[in-house]
């Protein structure tokens, strides 16, 4: 089992930035009105924030990070590490963490790199930052996580288009010898790499004329090889099979039960899937917050966005959390973490 226990690292704050522009699934006229009602009820997704063409994930993360640094009173020259988790980079190269390093005006004495993960990315990103920091040499770090997914989906693909929203987040972590441990359980199954995939555009198949040819896969699902493809049934089966035991293993490792935690914050995939996972774990509904209705599936931003949008006030008090991410890869993981006086400014909406 890929358990990782880190010490001496405290979550200090989380912020999130979304594009101001909204799309409502009640207006999604590619499907019938009855289908729209069923879609909204089943997925729990009523509204999504959609970036303008040209807006990058790094734009959203920069705004989120500036706000958070300001709220915490942190100086930019104090930041020792920036990790950017995304599947929507600014460029093939360089890594977007360097673009963020430049935009934020950080010091040269700062490590910066990207991690290419989606739904599981926030948990993996936390594990990496915490592991780097636990030795004590690095004192302050930023974990930036998010995606602009709406450029990748085809409007005539009902299996993807109404699910995704755009968001960039920032999480501040600090070395603190008094911080409780974080316990991670990180898992992978590369045999499922095709379950969620954008087939063309990278080295395996560079863009070519065929990349833009649209095919009807089934009724209501038209897409090209430059689009994001999602096998909903396979991902559903994978998530409800793998996420619950992954979470239970973290509780067991930590000698805790569900009763010891205040919240389980899951990656916001869709309501039916997440509720199936919650029911299998027998965790009461009031401990499992959702941001799906207002933001949809925001990839690696979904866990921090849910905390900021749903629990900002509560996060000022001491709390024990489980964060669970699962999806594209296939990749999944969970972390047990304690916070106190977590700073969460309100969700920022930008016209950028």
């Amino acid at each position: 089992m890929a358990f990782l226990e880190t010490r001496n690292v405290r979550l200090r704050g989380i912020s999130a930035c979304v594009p101001a522009r909204k799309e409502y699934n009640r207006d999604y006229d590619w499907i019938t009105e009855d289908e729209r009602k069923l879609l909204i009820k089943t997925t729990g997704i009523a509204c999504r924030h959609v970036a303008r063409e040209g807006t990058t994930t790094s734009d959203l993360c920069t705004i989120a990070a500036e706000k958070l640094l300001n709220e915490l009173g942190w100086k930019k020259e104090e930041i020792d590490l920036v990790v950017f988790v995304t599947q929507s980079r600014d460029y093939f190269l360089p890594s977007t963490a360097l673009i963020l390093h430049q935009k934020l005006g950080l010091s040269k004495n700062c490590a910066a790199f990207d991690m290419g993960l989606g739904c599981s990315g926030y948990v993996y990103g936390l594990s990496t930052v915490a592991a780097y920091m636990s030795g004590g040499s690095m004192k302050k770090a930023l974990l930036l996580a998010g995606d602009i997914s709406t450029v990748s989906v085809n409007k005539r693909d009902k299996s993807t288009y109404p699910l995704f929203g755009d968001c960039g987040t920032a999480t501040a972590l600090e070395y603190d010898a008094a911080a409780g441990p974080m316990v991670f359980n990180l898992q992978s199954d590369g045999t499922g790499y095709e379950a969620i995939i954008m087939p063309d555009g990278c080295l395996k198949q560079l863009y070519n004329d065929a990349s833009y040819v649209e095919h009807e896969v089934e009724k209501g699902v038209i897409r090209s090889k430059r689009n994001l493809w999602l096998n909903g049934l396979d991902v559903f089966n994978f998530s409800v099979r793998e996420a619950p035991p992954n979470i239970t293993a973290v509780m067991n490792y930590s000698n805790r039960t569900e009763a010891d935690y205040d919240y389980l914050v899951m990656h916001q995939a869709n309501l039916l899937m997440n509720e199936t996972i919650r029911k299998k774990l027998k965790i009461p509904a009031e401990k499992v917050p959702y941001s799906l209705a207002d933001y949809g599936n925001t990839s690696s931003a979904s866990i921090p966005l849910t905390i900021v949008s749903q629990l900002a006030e509560r996060a000022k008090q001491p709390a024990r959390w489980l964060f669970s991410g699962f999806g594209v890869g296939l990749s999944w993981g969970c972390v047990s973490v304690e916070t106190d006086q977590l700073v969460c400014p309100p969700v920022i909406e930008t016209d950028a």
Binding site: D34, G232, L233, D234, N237, R241, L272, M273, T276, K279
Partner: protein, 76 residues
Amino acid sequence: MSIADFIQKIEGEIEELPKGSLQPETHYREIPEWSSMHALILIALCETDYDVTLTGEDMRSCKTVNDLYTLVKSRM
């Protein structure tokens, strides 16, 4: 679990199905309102209520409600 219970649960989960509209011999994919979303709802129901996993392949191989019931019962 009897097939009557099974049908009652499905009709309870899928609002678009009027009570009493499903029969054991109903070919569920041929119901006019049937969609891939309903397949997901059925899969979720079997996970939470019976702790039985149905795959996409299972859904394709079953034709009638009775086929599904037999499969679920065999895995309980």
